[in-house]
C-alpha cells in the first residue's frame, strides 16, 4: 500500500489508438483517454459516467492493463504497474483486479458450463486442487444467490437469463479475491426490473469484501444507488469529480449540468415541455478542439475556453471541476 493509503493512483494517463481513417490514407491517432488523473482508496466505489465515445470504457480497460497505456502512470498498491513486463507480476496484477462486462451473454463462452466458466480463473492461477476448487465454485455461486448451486453449475449459459448470467459474471470476477474491480456498464443490457437487483448485489459484495470498485455507466440515475464518488468524463477527459450526492445536487461543469438535465424521471409532465440540452454531439477524438473540449457546445463559453485547456480545480472539498468558469 502506498504511503497515502491509496490502492490505485492514476496519473496523467493517456491511451491513444492508431486508426486508419480512410482506405487510402495515413494512420491517425484517436485520443480516447487524454490525460486523466485520480486516486482511489481501498473499499471506495466510484461511478465513471460519460456518453459513448467519452473514453470511459477505454479508461477502465487501460487501468486493468487490457490496453497498453500510451502515456502516464498507474500505481497499484504502491507499485508502478504501467508497463508490466514481468510475467509473474502481471499474473499478480490480473489476480488483484477483475472485470465485469456489459453483455452477460457475450461475456460467457457459450460452449462451457457455468462450473467450467468459474473454474477457468482458478485453473489459470493454479488455485487449489480439484476438490478445493469445487468448494470455491459452489461458495461463489451461493454468494451471488444462484441456488441451488448443483442445479446451476452444470448448465450452459444459454439456459440462464441475462440477470442470472450477470451474477455468474460477478462470481467469476470475485472468485480470485481481487481488490480492484472494474464493472463496465454491468446493467445497461438488463431489463430495468433486474438492474436494481444486480446493482444491490454488487454493492453488497463490494462493501462486504472492501473492494475498490469502478462502475462505468452512461446512466447517471443509477449511480447514487451504488457509489460514493462520481467522475464525469467527456471526450477523453474527466471534467468533474466529487462525492455522488454533491455532484448530482450541485453540478459544476456545464456538461454535467446538461447531462443531468437530459435525464428524465417518469413524469407525465415531461411530455409538455422541452428539455434544455446543448445542441450537437461530442467532438471527434482524432482532432479534438483545442482548449476545453466542451466549448463548441457550451452555453457559457468564453474566449479563453476555445484556446486553452482548463485546469482541474478543487471548488469545494474533494469536488473537482475542469472548467474556466471556476478559475
Amino acid at each position: 500500500m502506498s504511503s497515502d493509503g491509496y490502492l490505485l493512483e492514476v496519473k496523467n494517463l493517456r491511451k491513444w489508438f492508431e486508426v486508419r481513417r480512410g482506405f487510402f490514407s495515413k494512420p491517425l491517432w484517436l485520443k480516447a483517454v487524454d490525460g486523466v488523473s485520480f486516486a482511489l482508496r481501498p473499499g471506495e466505489a466510484v461511478s465513471l459516467v460519460g456518453e459513448s465515445g467519452s473514453g470511459k470504457t477505454t479508461l477502465g480497460k487501460t487501468v486493468l492493463l487490457l490496453h497498453e497505456p500510451t502515456d502516464g502512470q498507474i500505481i497499484f498498491k504502491g507499485e508502478d504497474v504501467t508497463h508490466l513486463k514481468d510475467k509473474k507480476k502481471m499474473m499478480w496484477y490480473r489476480r488483484e483486479t477483475a472485470l465485469v462486462q456489459q453483455d452477460p451473454f457475450g461475456a460467457m463462452p457459450s460452449f462451457m458450463t457455468i462450473y467450467r466458466i468459474l473454474e477457468e480463473p482458478l485453473i489459470v492461477h493454479k488455485v487449489g486442487d480439484k476438490k478445493e476448487r469445487e468448494e470455491m465454485i459452489y461458495r461463489a455461486l451461493e454468494e451471488v444467490r444462484l441456488t441451488p448451486v448443483e442445479d446451476f453449475a452444470p448448465k450452459y449459459p444459454h439456459m440462464l437469463s441475462g440477470g442470472q448470467l450477470q451474477r455468474v459474471a460477478i462470481a467469476r470476477a470475485l472468485i480470485l479475491g481481487p481488490s480492484l474491480v472494474v464493472a463496465d456498464e454491468p446493467v445497461s443490457m438488463l431489463d430495468a426490473s433486474v438492474r436494481v437487483e444486480i446493482l444491490n448485489l454488487m454493492r453488497e459484495m463490494q462493501q462486504r469484501r472492501n473492494i475498490t470498485f469502478i462502475y462505468i455507466t452512461h446512466d447517471l440515475s443509477t449511480t447514487r444507488y451504488f457509489s460514493e464518488w462520481i467522475y464525469i468524463m467527456y471526450a477523453g477527459h474527466i471534467v468533474e469529480r466529487g462525492p455522488t450526492q454533491r455532484v448530482i445536487r450541485n453540478p459544476l461543469h456545464p456538461y454535467t449540468k446538461a447531462l443531468l438535465a437530459a435525464i428524465p424521471d417518469p413524469d407525465p409532465e415531461n411530455r409538455k415541455r422541452f428539455r434544455e440540452v446543448p445542441p450537437g454531439e461530442p467532438p471527434g477524438l482524432i482532432n479534438p478542439p483545442p482548449g476545453c473540449r466542451f466549448a463548441p457546445r457550451c452555453s457559457r463559453v468564453m474566449e479563453r475556453c476555445r484556446k486553452e485547456e482548463p485546469p482541474e480545480i478543487e471548488v469545494e472539498h474533494n469536488h473537482f471541476v475542469k472548467c474556466w468558469l471556476y478559475v
Binding site: 487490457l66 490480473r94 483486479t97 472485470l99 460452449f111 477457468e120 450452459y156 444459454h158 459474471a169
Partner: protein
C-alpha cells in the same frame, strides 16, 4: 428476442440430425459404406487386393472378358449366358473318360466325352480348352482329336493336333485353324458358306441353317457334347482337359478387359475413397483452422505473412500443379493425399475463418479471459477454437465429395495409385478401352454409382449439419 447460444453436444446434434429426412438418409448410407469398407479391408487385405487386381498367375483366365453383370439379364429379359466349365477329371454326371492301352506298346487311347446343357438365349463370348496333360515334351507327344456334338447329334470335327505343352490352351473361339475346319465342314456337309461375320461360337452353338450364309444364326439350346480322342505314346502319359464356355455376364459387377471381376475394385474403392476424402478434408480443415487462428489472433506481421502466402496459393493453379506433381513423381495415393493437403492448407478457407477469429477476438468472453490472466495459447485452444470449430464442421463434411472426385479425376488421367484398385481407375480403364463406344455401360455406371452415392451421402450430411449449426438457415 434474445440471442440463444447453441449447445453443441454430440447427442444434441445427432438428435437434431435425425429430425431431417436427408439427415437420416445420409447417416444410413454412410453407415452402410463404412460397414462395407470394414468388411472389404477385413476380407480382402490390401496386399491380396493388389495381387488380385494385377491378376497374378493368370488368375482370371477362366473369367469372361468385358462381361456385364448378371443382373443385366433382368433388364433385357433374356437368359444371358453365364460362364460354365466342364473338366474331364471331375467325376460327375455326363463326363466319361475311358482309357484303352494298346497291348504290347506304350501307346494308349483315351476317349473323353463331356456332356453339358446350353440353355441360354445368346452365344457365349469365348470358348477355350485348357489341357492338363502329362507327357515328356521331348518325346512323342499326344495326338488329340476334338469333336463337337450338337443337340441333334450332328458331329462336327473341330480339330486335330499334336500337343506341344502339357498345359496347352486351345483358344477355340479365336483359333484360325479351327474356324477354317468348321467352315470347311459346313461347306462340305451342309453346303453352306457362312457369311464372314459368323463366329466360331455361332457355328458351334447355333442352328445350322442356310441363313448362315446371310450371317443370321440363332442359338440352338440343348445338350451338347465335347468328344476328345487322344493317343498317348509313352508310359504314364495322360490327357485331361477342361472346357470353358465364357458367358457374357459375370457376377454382380461384371468383368473388365483383363477379365478382372469389377467387384474387387468396387469394394476396395470404398475404403480408399472414404479414407482419402475424409483425411484430406479433415487435415485441411484443421490445419487451416490453426493457421487462420494464428493469423487472426496475432495480427501484425505474422498475419501479413500468412496473407501473402494465401495470395501465392491463390495464384498457383491448384489442379495443374497437383497433376504435375503426380505425373512427374509418379506418386502413390497417400503421397498424392499429402500433396493435396499441402497445396490446400493456405486455401481460401483461411480468409473466412480468419475473419471469424478477428470477430471472436473482440468478444467480451475473450476479453474476460484476458482479464483473469489466461495466456494466448490457452485462449486460442480453449476459447477460440471451440467457438469456430462447430460452424466449420458442415463445410468439412461437405467438402469430402470434392476430394473423392479429385482422386477419381486423377485416376481418370491415369495418375492414380499404381496398384490399389479405385473407382476412378475403373472409369479410367473403361474410358481407355472405349467402353462408351462399345456400349459397355456397366463398366462406367457401376463405379459412377458408387461415387455418386458416396458423394451425395456426405453432401446431404453437410447440408443437414449446416442447418443445425447455422440456425439462420433453419427457417429457410
Amino acid at each position: 428476442m434474445s440471442e440463444v447460444g447453441m449447445e453443441y453436444s454430440l447427442k444434441g446434434i445427432l438428435r437434431e440430425l435425425l429430425s431431417y429426412k436427408s439427415g437420416i438418409a445420409s447417416i444410413v448410407i454412410l453407415a452402410l459404406l463404412i460397414g462395407l469398407s470394414v468388411y472389404t479391408v477385413v476380407t480382402i487385405p490390401p496386399q491380396k487386393a493388389i495381387a488380385m487386381w494385377r491378376g497374378e498367375n493368370n488368375m482370371w483366365i477362366e473369367n469372361p472378358r468385358n462381361a456385364a453383370p448378371e443382373w443385366m439379364a433382368f433388364f433385357v429379359h433374356k437368359n444371358l449366358p453365364k460362364t460354365f466349365k466342364v473338366a474331364s477329371w471331375e467325376k460327375s454326371f455326363g463326363i466319361v473318360k475311358a482309357e484303352a492301352p494298346l497291348p504290347g506298346t506304350s501307346i494308349k487311347k483315351i476317349h473323353i466325352e463331356m456332356s453339358f446343357n446350353y440353355p441360354y438365349d445368346d452365344f457365349p463370348s469365348e470358348v477355350n480348352i485348357f489341357f492338363r496333360a502329362k507327357f515328356n515334351a521331348s518325346k512323342n507327344t499326344p495326338l488329340v482329336k476334338i469333336y463337337w456334338i450338337k443337340p441333334d447329334g450332328t458331329r462336327i470335327p473341330v480339330t486335330e493336333m499334336t500337343m506341344r505343352d502339357p498345359n496347352q490352351i486351345l483358344y477355340v473361339s479365336v483359333d484360325q485353324q479351327i474356324y477354317n475346319n468348321l467352315v470347311m465342314w459346313l461347306q462340305k456337309e451342309k453346303g453352306i458358306t457362312p457369311y464372314k461375320t459368323v463366329t466360331t461360337q455361332q457355328i458351334l452353338f447355333g442352328k445350322i441353317t442356310p441363313a448362315m450364309a446371310q450371317g443370321k444364326v440363332d442359338v440352338e439350346k440343348g445338350a451338347y457334347k465335347l468328344v476328345v480322342d487322344a493317343t498317348t505314346y509313352n508310359k504314364g502319359d495322360d490327357v485331361d482337359l477342361k472346357l470353358v464356355v465364357y458367358g457374357t455376364v459375370y457376377g454382380i459387377a461384371g468383368t473388365d478387359h483383363l477379365r478382372r471381376p469389377l467387384i474387387i475394385a468396387l469394394l476396395w474403392g470404398t475404403p480408399v475413397a472414404i479414407a482419402f476424402g475424409l483425411t484430406a478434408s479433415l487435415a485441411i480443415s484443421i490445419i487451416q483452422l490453426f493457421i487462420a487462428t494464428i493469423s487472426g489472433w496475432y495480427a501484425g506481421i505474422i498475419d501479413s505473412i500468412i496473407q501473402r502466402i494465401t495470395e501465392i496459393y491463390m495464384i498457383i493453379p491448384f489442379l495443374p500443379f497437383l497433376i504435375m506433381m503426380a505425373a512427374f513423381y509418379k506418386l502413390d495415393i497417400w503421397t498424392i493425399l499429402a500433396v493435396v493437403i499441402v497445396l490446400s492448407i493456405f486455401g481460401a478457407g483461411i480468409k473466412s475463418t480468419r475473419a471469424l477469429v478477428m470477430q471472436i477476438k473482440e468478444y467480451p468472453y475473450v476479453e474476460a479471459a484476458k482479464a483473469y490472466g489466461a495466456s494466448d495459447a490457452r485462449i486460442i485452444t480453449f476459447y477460440i477454437i471451440p467457438k469456430i470449430l462447430p460452424p466449420l464442421v458442415p463445410g468439412l463434411i461437405g467438402s469430402v465429395p470434392g476430394f473423392v472426385f479429385l482422386e477419381a479425376a486423377l485416376s481418370l488421367l491415369g495418375l492414380g495409385d499404381p496398384y490399389l484398385p479405385t473407382w476412378g481407375k475403373i472409369i479410367n480403364d473403361a474410358y481407355n478401352n472405349g467402353a462408351l463406344y462399345k456400349g459397355y455401360y456397366y463398366w462406367i455406371l457401376e463405379p459412377s454409382f458408387m461415387l455418386i452415392v458416396t458423394a451425395l451421402a456426405f453432401a446431404m450430411l453437410g447440408f443437414a449439419l449446416d442447418k443445425i449449426v447455422n440456425p439462420r438457415l433453419r427457417e429457410m
